[in-house]
Symmetry: C2
Amino acid sequence: VDSRPIGVFDSGVGGLTVTREILRQLPNESIFYLGDTARVPYGPRGPEIIRRFALQMVDFLLRRDVKALVIACNSISACAFEAIRAVSPVPVIEVIRPTVGAAVRRTRTRRVGVIGTAATVNSGVYPRHVHAMAGRARVALQSCPLFVPLAEEGLYAHPVTRMLAKEYLDPLRAERIDVLVLGCTHYPLLRRDIAAVMGRRVTLVDSAGPTTRELCAVLEEADMENRGPVRHRFCVTDASPKFLEIAQRILGVNIQGYVRQVTLDTEMLVGEERLVRSA
Amino acid sequence: VDSRPIGVFDSGVGGLTVTREILRQLPNESIFYLGDTARVPYGPRGPEIIRRFALQMVDFLLRRDVKALVIACNSISACAFEAIRAVSPVPVIEVIRPTVGAAVRRTRTRRVGVIGTAATVNSGVYPRHVHAMAGRARVALQSCPLFVPLAEEGLYAHPVTRMLAKEYLDPLRAERIDVLVLGCTHYPLLRRDIAAVMGRRVTLVDSAGPTTRELCAVLEEADMENRGPVRHRFCVTDASPKFLEIAQRILGVNIQGYVRQVTLDTEMLVGEERLVRSA
C-alpha cells in the first residue's frame, strides 16, 4: 500500500488523454499532473532540448514525492526515457513499448503505421520496438507536425484538419497498413479526422489504454497500490484559459480549482508552489 | 561612434525578417541575434510567461554588451516592452509603434486591419497606438494562431495555408480595410498567401522597414553609429537544421558558421557560451 500520487507529465495537454484512462482504470489512485504548457510543443525540438526540459519536469515531480512517473508524451518517451530512468528512484512508465505491444497484437497483415511528431519519428524508437516484438512486421512512419497545433487550437473536424490529415495519411493508406498507432498523446483529440481518412478497415491504437495497463501491472507487482482517499493536482507552466478548456473537453470535468501555475526554469514563487532549482 | 553590436531578438526565426532589413539599411552595424527557438511560439502563451522569457533574453543580450535592443517580435513588444525598458540601460526599439505609424500614413479610408498572434491581439496595444496617432481611424483585429506553425513548417503557398488565410482574413475584407498590418514578424513569410486573399487594393505593411528606420534615427540622434568592421552572431536556444533552412530562406545566405546554441533557463555550458543566471 502506497498512498503517494502518481506523477503524470507531458509537454502540454496531450497527457490528459492518458490521465483520463488512469482515472478510469485506477479510481483509487491520486494523480499529480504536470504539463509544460509554457514550452509546448516539444515535437519540433531537438532531442537534447527535449531531454533537458523533461529532466526539469522529473526533478519537479520527484520533489513532490510521487511513487511512479508516467511519461504521458511520445516525444519525451522517444528522446528521454533512458535519461529519466537513470535519475529516477521510482518506477518509470513510458508510452511507446506498451502501445507497440497493443499494435502488434492487433495487426493481421503485419503492416503497422505510426504517426507522431518529428522528434518521435526521427528517434527511430517505434520501428525498433516493432521489430523487437514482431520481427517480420513492416512499419510505415509519418510525422504530422501540424496536428499538435491544430489540436491545441481546437480545430477538430475542421476542413483544414481534414485536408492536412489526407496529405499526411495518404502515404500510409498506400502502404495498406491495418493498424495505425496514434504516436502522440494529442492525436486522440483528432481521432475522428484521422479515422475519416483511414477508413474502417484500419484499427487506430492510442497510448492511453496500453500505458495505463502497464502502470497497473507495475503498481500491483510492487504492491504500491493506494486504497485510501484520492487527491488530484494539476500543475502547468502556463495556466491559460485554453488549458482549462481542453482539459474540460478531455476529462469531462472542470478542473479549475485543482490547477496551479508553476515554473520549472528559475527559482520563482508562483502561486503556492516554490521550486528550488537543482544544482 | 559605437562599435558594439545591436541586440535583435525574437521568439524564433520571425525576427530575421527585421534583421534582413537592418543588414540592408545599416550595413556598417554588427548584429547579435537571439532566437528562443527552444520555446517558440510565444504567441499562444500568457503575458506573464512572455515577459519572463523576454527578460531572460534581454539579460542574455545585455551581458553581451549590446548598444541597443531591437524587439523583433510583436508578441514581446505587446506584452513586455515596458518591463524591458525598465531594466535596460540601452535604447529599446519595439516593432508596434513604428509599424502603426507607417500604417496610418498609408491608409486613405482610415480603416486599418491588424493580424497577429493571440498575445498581440489580446493585449490591445495596436488599437491604442492607432487611436493615439489617428483618432478617428477604425481598427479591425484578427488573431491568426496557426500562421506561425504554418510558416515554421514552410507551408508557403500551400492549399492548407490558403484555406486558413481565407478563414482568418475574410472578416477583415468585410470591414473594407485598405491597409493590413502584418502584426507578427513571421507573417512576411506568408505574404503571398495573405496578399492572394486580400487582393491588390489592400496595402500590406510589415514591421521590418518602419522598425529599422526607427533604429536608424535612434542611433543617429545618440551618435551611436558604427563605422568600423562588422561581425554578426546568431544565437538560438535550439539550433535545429530547420532554423538554418528558414534563416537561409529569409536572409538569402547560409549562416551555419555564425550560429551557436545557448540556454537561457539554467546555468549551463553549451558550446562556447556560458550564461550566468541573474539573481
